[in-house]
């Protein structure tokens, strides 16, 4: 690789890349994100390469980052037409090459079928999952081999930092970011431009940048997929931040259990360094910046900025009181600007296309797009990027394709363990920072967990509390002792041992923990309880007063029975019961011995005639 010394060099390189013969007529983009890897995309990619070589075709096989539609992995998109094949196995590859590539025929079997209309969809852009999305950040993943910096440069990468170095003063950059209305994508939604300004204005020689990639919400993986799929966009964002704030050194704090993200971002850093886009004298003599990767050990608390800083310093991942804020006194006591992966990835786009373009997307106070991971009881799981302000209904029914098995939608949990559950009655709520907060939840880093009618909301609250009890650092009393006692109360309620006054005590505890905790983990941990108390009080009452779990989830409150009229006396339940709790008199339909029954549900799954009833 040849070093790039100045802005002209970069423009020349870009022009050269675009002219290169490997800009082949046909590109087959094979998703190599973590989701598709789990489905075996590695073998699929290899099969494509072998086939192309075998036939001597002028086709580029491009292993890319995550495309988002993880439900349908492994995914392949054939450019330039955008033919979308899904759930590909290595055996299908030969046919794709001989039929689609060589004979221009579409293979119906590999197309995505809309579960609602049963229509086969040929092109990626027509897949309903993608249609309503606005993939300004995430969309690039499908065109980039994350291990090849030239791919990023080809789509205009590193032109934003060029623009900044060529024609913008740091104050102008801050002005542009402020005007764009960009707010922190890590959860709290603090205006990014203001944060940068405070750090820039701090009077110290040494300053630091940090990219927070300690994504810890269960089921959330958008930051991971950005680092895996488009690492250079994060690096470019950090370069712009470094120039603006005046920080010569940056850190990317990423979880060790994200091996692909660590690999791809490391690769990207070394390629950028070889080009001279990191290190000394970047695109000219006056700007230097280095990035170091710090691998976190996977503690949820380290996503909290002061704990993350303590962890980089080599200490225990524990928060410290603010003020002083990291922008005043952060890493090693120096002013530190810390932004989330997605925030950094937004920066080059805003600089490139301008704040005016950016502010066209979103709501009055929340601009741009947000990447969410849509998981749970939903037909289309995956990563979605939508404009701020889109309604929950659009996300769940149009992008997500509704609830599987014809079940009813019950609630959606946003913002991970620190977020709240929003009920079906609020499906038209626009998703933005203010809307979610008013609804008793938070934007968080962007987890969306969909729940159907079979979900017990008290059990859900308990689940999230278990998570925060495990992940609390234990430093301060309200978080350590308070959440534990809340969990005790909830456990009792789900065991049918709840009593009058429990709800009031829970509410009192929630408020105290929210108000008194040292950091955001404790400050938001009561949200799942508060929001379910607010929207599903009758479920708590049913557990406490009637000793009944309406969703039939809480085991101590349910009973299994056999409906003698439906029973076909096949004896399968008797055989399958691990406790020997089911027995029958000769020729009679069996009965369940409730003293022995452990409510595992195996008989329910085994029964061919739906004769097992849960009460």
């Amino acid at each position: 690789m040849q070093r790039i010394y100045n802005l002209q060099d970069l423009d020349d390189l870009r022009a050269e890349i675009k002219k290169r013969p490997q800009g082949k007529a046909i590109t087959i983009a094979v998703c190599n994100g973590t989701g598709c890897q789990a489905y075996g995309c590695g073998k699929v990619t290899q099969a494509f390469m072998d086939e192309v070589t075998k036939h001597g075709l002028d086709v580029e096989i491009k292993p890319t980052g995550c495309h988002g539609f993880c439900q349908s992995g492994p995914i392949t998109v054939i450019h330039p037409d955008g033919i979308f094949y899904q759930r590909i196995k290595p055996e299908d590859v030969g046919e794709i090459i001989s039929e689609t590539i060589m004979r221009n025929r579409i293979i119906q079997r590999l197309l995505y079928e809309d579960p609602l209309t049963l229509e086969k969809i040929t092109y990626e852009k027509d897949v309903p999952f993608y249609k309503k999305q606005m993939r300004i950040i995430f969309g690039n993943n499908g065109f980039i081999n994350p291990r090849n910096i030239d791919d990023y440069i080809a789509i205009g990468g590193y032109s934003a930092i060029s623009k900044v170095l060529k024609e913008m003063e740091p104050e102008e950059v801050i002005g542009e970011i402020k005007n764009s209305g960009l707010r922190g994508r890590g959860g709290a939604g603090f205006p990014t431009g203001v944060k940068w300004e405070v750090c820039r204005n701090a009077e110290e020689d040494q300053k630091y940048l940090i990219c927070n990639s300690d994504e810890g919400d269960p089921g959330a993986y958008m930051d991971r997929s950005l680092l895996e799929g488009n690492p250079h966009s994060v690096i470019e964002g950090m370069l712009i931040g470094a120039y603006t704030i005046g920080a010569p050194k940056g850190f990317i704090y990423v979880r060790h259990e994200y091996p692909l993200a660590v690999k791809n971002i490391s690769f990207a850093i070394s390629q950028a360094s070889e080009y001279g886009l990191l290190g000394k004298d970047i695109l000219g003599p006056s700007f230097s910046f280095d990035i170091e990767i710090i691998r976190g050990a996977g503690a949820f608390i380290c996503g909290e900025e002061t704990s993350l800083i303590a962890s980089i310093e080599g200490g225990r991942g524990e928060p410290r009181p603010r003020p002083p804020y990291p922008a005043q006194k952060g890493l090693w006591g120096k002013p530190t600007n810390i932004n989330n992966v997605e925030t950094w990835a937004n920066i080059p786009l805003i600089i490139d296309r301008g704040a005016d373009w950016y502010t066209q997307m979103g709501t009055e106070k929340s601009k741009g797009t947000k990447i969410f991971s849509l998981v749970g009881k939903i037909n289309n799981t995956g990563l979605i990027e939508v404009p701020m302000g889109i309604s929950l209904r659009e996300v769940i029914y149009e992008i997500g394709g509704g609830i599987p098995g014809g079940k009813k939608f019950k609630a959606i949990q946003t913002g991970g363990p620190s977020g709240g559950c929003i009920p079906a009655a609020m499906l038209d709520l626009p998703i933005d920072y203010e809307g979610l907060t008013a609804a008793g939840s938070i934007m968080g880093s962007g987890g969306l967990v969909v729940m159907d009618e079979d979900t017990c909301m008290v059990d859900v609250a308990k689940y999230f509390l278990k998570f925060t009890v495990d992940e609390s650092c234990g430093l301060c009393t309200p978080c350590r002792e308070g959440i534990k006692q809340m969990l005790h109360l909830l456990t009792r309620i789900t065991e049918g041992k709840g009593k009058e006054g429990d709800i009031e005590l829970l509410e009192e505890l929630c408020q105290a923990i929210k108000d008194a905790s040292l950091c955001g983990l404790g400050g938001t941990a009561p949200n799942p309880v508060l929001s379910t108390l607010r929207y599903f009080p009758e479920e708590y009452q049913a557990h406490i007063k009637d000793k009944r779990c309406p969703a039939k989830v809480c085991r101590p409150l349910i009973r299994y029975q056999i409906d003698a009229e439906k029973c076909v006396i096949c004896g399968l339940c008797i055989e399958s019961c691990p406790e020997g709790a089911i027995a029958s008199e000769a020729g009679e339909s069996p009965t369940i011995n409730l003293d022995k029954c452990i409510k595992c549900g195996i008989c329910l799954d085994t029964c061919p005639s739906e004769a097992i009833i849960v009460q």
Partner: protein, 250 residues
């Protein structure tokens, strides 16, 4: 600043707790000690900031004073939340006299939460004082409900001086030292420290590593080295007696 409706001037770089104490306002604390840096862990010293950009409850031991701040140290919200903090700690350590006393002051008879049988409230005073002395023989391990204070790898400490500063500061009496024969034992740290014998009466009396530490820091009066407290007094007495008898002969 205005604290409890009273306008005050506070020293720059001081904390709300220091400013309030200077006015004679009493704010209860547990994890705070004036000789050590603030920790902000027990949340008993909560006060409310009622104005500005970030109103809300803060730990007064860590929050720096700020021009124009309006603070209330005893309003309903503060007391209600402080009560819950103490109630939670009482549930954790129902046998601690200190916590019981604090709970009594706040009108709590019994906690409404599940009781445990802990003695340590994880205030970290022991960890911080040992760090301050420069020894770092104990620290926190684990997180959340499993958090505890212990020695490295939970093995007997190789560096503990036996100085008992941790036990002295512990608000709940969770750390107990005991001198048995030639050893000073501390069960909580699974550690025994050899006691030096008095050079005069040969009774074991002083931890050897502490003696070395004090020598190194030049904190010992040379003539007292090696003498137990009784022998030190005796030696002082005989010196005094000789001086006095010399005087009387003159």
């Amino acid at each position: 600043m205005i604290v409890n409706n009273q306008e005050i001037e506070a020293k720059e770089d001081s904390t709300l707790l220091q400013a309030a104490s200077a006015m004679g306002i009493v704010i209860p604390t547990l994890c705070f000690h004036e000789a050590l840096g603030p920790h902000g862990s027990c949340r008993v010293c909560l006060v409310e900031i009622v104005n500005g950009a970030r109103p809300g409850l803060v730990a007064s031991c860590t929050y720096p004073v700020e021009e124009g701040l309006v603070v209330e140290t005893n309003n309903t919200k503060v007391l209600k939340t402080r009560r819950i903090m103490v109630e939670l700690l009482l549930a954790r350590c129902p046998d601690s006299t200190k916590i019981r006393g604090l709970a009594n002051d706040l009108g709590i008879a019994e906690p409404r939460f599940d009781k445990e049988n802990e003695s340590c409230i994880l205030c970290g005073l022991c960890v911080r004082v040992c760090r301050e002395i420069g020894i770092n023989s104990v620290g926190f391990i684990q997180r959340g409900t499993n958090r505890e204070v212990t020695t490295p790898f939970q093995k007997p400490s190789e560096v503990c001086l036996g100085c008992q500063a941790c036990a002295f500061l512990c608000p709940t009496g969770a750390i107990k030292f005991e001198d048995v024969a030639e050893e000073r034992k501390v069960e909580k740290w699974k550690t025994s420290i050899k006691l030096q014998r008095c050079s005069s009466c040969s009774r074991p009396f002083f931890p050897e590593p502490l003696q070395l530490y004090l020598k190194e820091k030049e904190l010992l009066v040379p003539e007292n080295i090696g003498l137990c407290e009784v022998c030190r007094r005796k030696s002082l007495g005989s010196r005094l007696a000789s001086i006095l008898s010399r005087k009387s002969t003159v």
